[in-house]
Amino acid sequence: MSFINYSSREINCKIVYYGPGLCGKTTNLQHIYAKTNPDVKGKMISLETETERTLFFDFLPLALGEIRGFKTRFHLYTVPGQVFYDASRKLILKGVDGVVFVADSQIERMEANIESLDNLKINLLDQGYALDSIPYVVQYNKRDLPNAAPLDEMRRLLNPTQVPDYEASAATGEGVFETLKAVAKGVLTNLKNMGPAQTNPESAR
């Protein structure tokens, strides 16, 4: 749920990176953090285990610039991908405005991708949202690896509704900003379309 503050003229949106364990969600945020100007980003917070697996979430605030005199702030979160952290994943989805599903391209992770996507749908439904109704993009990560599955197979399995999707290699940063832009665009477009009164008084008559 976006939050619009008229006195500070700010709009805040929450974007969640979802996907199976080790697919590269944290790596996406780390790359964004490393490549954005200091005046654009806040501190990145990682609540992780000693083995650098996400325990609760990563958090990266970005202030992208102004639209119509409103500062647009995006709060990026990752969920912990390991199956047994489901309770935490549910909590992080609260109030989400846009979702990136990060898939692991390695053939042997295809089951895990499918399971995680199902889990995303279930957890969103728990909160009363359908995946189809929120801004949503898919990233096929780890394209650099020799055991990456063919793209059309991944599309068929993981993106049947043909939302915007991107090939990426988060470890080198390829595709990371394309993915972020796409989801941010989806969220802002959604805001633009919000509210029933799309008709202006002239044309309504």
Binding site: N5, K14, F56, R68, A87, G95, M194, G195
Partner: protein, 162 residues
């Protein structure tokens, strides 16, 4: 629901600021923060200006979310108050209605008893302000177009232009 956004109008923000500033003084707090449950900072007052309040907001929301999850396991609906005691600073956290969190940071100049008392009083006023804001958000959503209704694809592309 996702589709109803929350808006704070200028007059609501002013009322909120006044209550927070009074609470900071009355509770002899170092800092007073209001954060929503999704981790956005809504307002702050006190002498801690300049603290990384964006991180603070996100972690406070995470903390409340995790504690709320624990509550459910025990069959409690929620733990409406939590208290973290530190060497120097202490943190008092209370839930305000369905979506807001009030954090009060205090040191030895104040006491848990005083903070509790003042939070209780301010909590009622804050709940009223947010209820007002919520009603206005709903009315606004029902009656007018989004303030972003006329943004273009170019506007959005420009955000990423560097």
């Amino acid at each position: 629901m996702l589709q109803t956004q929350f808006m704070m109008r200028e007059e609501d923000s002013r009322d909120l600021q006044a209550v927070l500033e009074r609470l900071a003084v009355d509770a002899r707090a170092r800092g007073v923060f209001v954060v929503d449950k999704t981790g956005q900072l809504i307002g702050e007052a006190g002498e801690m200006m300049g603290v990384d309040s964006t991180s603070l907001a996100s972690l406070a929301a995470g903390c409340v979310a995790a504690t709320g999850g624990l509550a459910l396991i025990f069959g409690e609906e929620e733990f409406p108050t939590h208290y973290h005691q530190g060497e120097r600073d202490n943190l008092h956290i209370t839930l305000l209605g369905e979506r807001m969190i009030l954090l009060v940071v205090f040191d030895e100049r104040s006491s848990l008893g005083l903070v509790r008392l003042r939070v209780k009083k301010a909590g009622g006023e804050l709940a009223r302000i947010f209820e007002e804001a919520r009603k206005k958000s709903e009315a606004q959503a029902a009656s007018t177009a989004s303030p972003f209704a006329d943004i273009t694809d170019d506007d959005i592309d420009n955000l990423f232009s560097d």
